[in-house]
């Protein structure tokens, strides 16, 4: 009997230890990022251009570049994602086509991001002659975000009780009206949550924009869709691997990483907050 008791406590202890190690890593990670990053962080850091071959100055062009890349990508991906999810939940015929679409979505979701980068390079940059530009990068990121948005929206739409759509149809509304005026508005908070989470994800992606949009250094802000852009994640990578003044570049890389981290974490914080509020206020 004693042996089993001992085994029980030991087993539970080991399981708890694994959770503890995961927590500990996260804490060490966050402390390190904040500690190293905050030493260079200032308002000037996010609002001025880099100076002196990246060894001084701020990261303003990278902030702007990431903003535009992410915004454009989401503007392209959201309508497509929502419409696809509408098809899957409300029309869904013929069945073999639905299965094919689902397999495609799941495959895209599991495809490494560097492959999206190569695809973007082969199709947008070379074949469509968009060159290395904001638009090539944004389209590549949009494709990366698409499966996330479809899955989130599909789940949101399936969460709408069938009474809602039945009531709407019984009142004589058409299927299209039911979808646009009942289903989507009801599911909207959940759709938004999914979209916001995917914003956070694509803002931090590096591999897809490496060969499609990003440049290590640009003197000016992007002025058109066909300009190369700086971006926060690529900037971190470039600071760590290029250039010769690593002593002054590493702190800037930490600062950039902290900004990116704060951005991404506050974005997902907003998503968690929205989800929390939906759960609390839901009336059905």
């Amino acid at each position: 009997m004693n042996r089993r008791k001992l085994q029980n406590y030991l087993g539970l202890g080991v399981l708890g230890l694994f959770l503890f190690i995961t927590f500990a890593f996260l804490i060490i990670f966050l402390v390190r990022m904040f500690y190293m990053g905050s030493s260079v962080l200032s308002l000037e850091f996010v609002t001025t251009n880099p100076r002196n071959a990246m060894t001084e100055g701020g990261i303003f062009p990278a902030v702007v570049g990431t903003f535009w890349l992410t915004t454009l990508a989401i503007l392209v991906a959201t309508p497509m994602g929502v419409l696809t999810a509408v098809y899957l939940t409300s029309y869904g015929r013929p069945m073999w086509f639905v299965r094919l679409v689902k397999i495609a979505i799941n495959t895209l979701a599991g495809t490494p991001s560097i492959i999206f980068g190569l695809f973007g390079m082969a199709i947008f940059v070379n074949l469509m002659r968009l060159n290395i530009s904001l638009i090539s990068g944004a389209l590549t990121l949009a494709i990366l975000a698409l499966p996330m948005i479809i899955n989130a929206t599909e789940e949101a739409l399936r969460g709408v009780p069938s009474d809602f759509s039945e009531a709407s149809l019984a009142l004589g509304a058409t299927k299209r009206q039911t979808i646009l005026r009942v289903m989507i508005p009801t599911a909207l908070p959940n759709i938004l949550t999914g979209t916001i989470i995917s914003i956070g994800r694509i803002a931090g992606e590096t591999a897809p924009i490496m060969f499609t949009a990003a440049t290590f250094y640009s003197r000016r802000l992007p002025e058109s869709l066909s300009d190369e852009v700086m971006a926060l994640p690529y900037h971190i990578y470039a600071l760590m691997t290029e250039g010769t003044h690593s002593a002054s570049q590493v702190p800037i890389a930490y600062g950039t990483a902290l900004i990116l981290l704060l951005m991404v974490l506050s974005i997902s914080g907003v998503a968690v907050f929205i989800r929390f509020n939906i759960r609390r206020n839901r009336k059905w």
């Binding site: 089993r4 080991v14 094919l100 560097i114 999206f116």
Partner: protein, 289 residues
Amino acid sequence: MKSFKEKSFQSITYITSLFTIVILMGIIYSLFREGLPLFKTVSVKEFLFTQNWYPTHSEPEFGAWALIAGSFYVTLGALLIGVPLGLGSAIFVSEVASPKLKEIAKPVIELLAGIPSVVYGLFGMAFLAPLIRQWFNLNTGLNVFSASVILGVMIVPIIASMSEDALSNVPKSIREAALALGSTKVECIFRAVIPSAKSGIIGSILLGFGRAIGETMVVLMVAGGSAQIPKGIFSSVRPMTSTIAAEMGETVMGDLHYQSLFALAMVLFIITFVTNLITELVFLKRSFR
């Protein structure tokens, strides 16, 4: 009789859905179109099974075996770290933790999932690698071990959240039956709950595998980058993804080196595609829901 508006709306949703398939086809097409021509010059056997990767020499050699092996070594290392941590955390959260701890632990693990991979890469390169170098007295801390540690932590949230789902779907009656028969908590978990959630757990591990083998920035920054079969956990490696990312900038569109990198991407795509398909169809059965 459906009106024009109804029909056109339905058609639009149909077309956007079709687009997902078109994109997937486009990815496969572009990889194969750029990658396959390599095999006119280099045989498939030579590409896959020899290990001299000298793409820029005057007589270039394209043996990718060391790169493929590098990917598998790093991924295996990541699983050795990520599976116990992820699965252990999931089991603890779902079976042992108090509701309060549960409420804290789940968002914290989700937080890990939101951290961009390049930031993990920076952490590995500027913090972990120097530590590893010091502790083990090495020439460089950029090696299989460091990359595996970082990748392992990266896949913890995937494994944890998916296997937590699987565990919480196990009916309560199974736990009650095991406990009523006099089993301890741990016996109940390992002999009753885990076997019932087996397929979901294996699915989560396979997803973690797919994520780790396809991850680019971490291995690019932390794995060291020499194209050799690793001799131990402290040797430097160059997995497929970091080879593509590091060398694509040096190539000229359409030359042999460019083709060979696309051929590497084909190999990578096939690995993740097959893993995903097996996961979805056999273990999670999601595509047919």
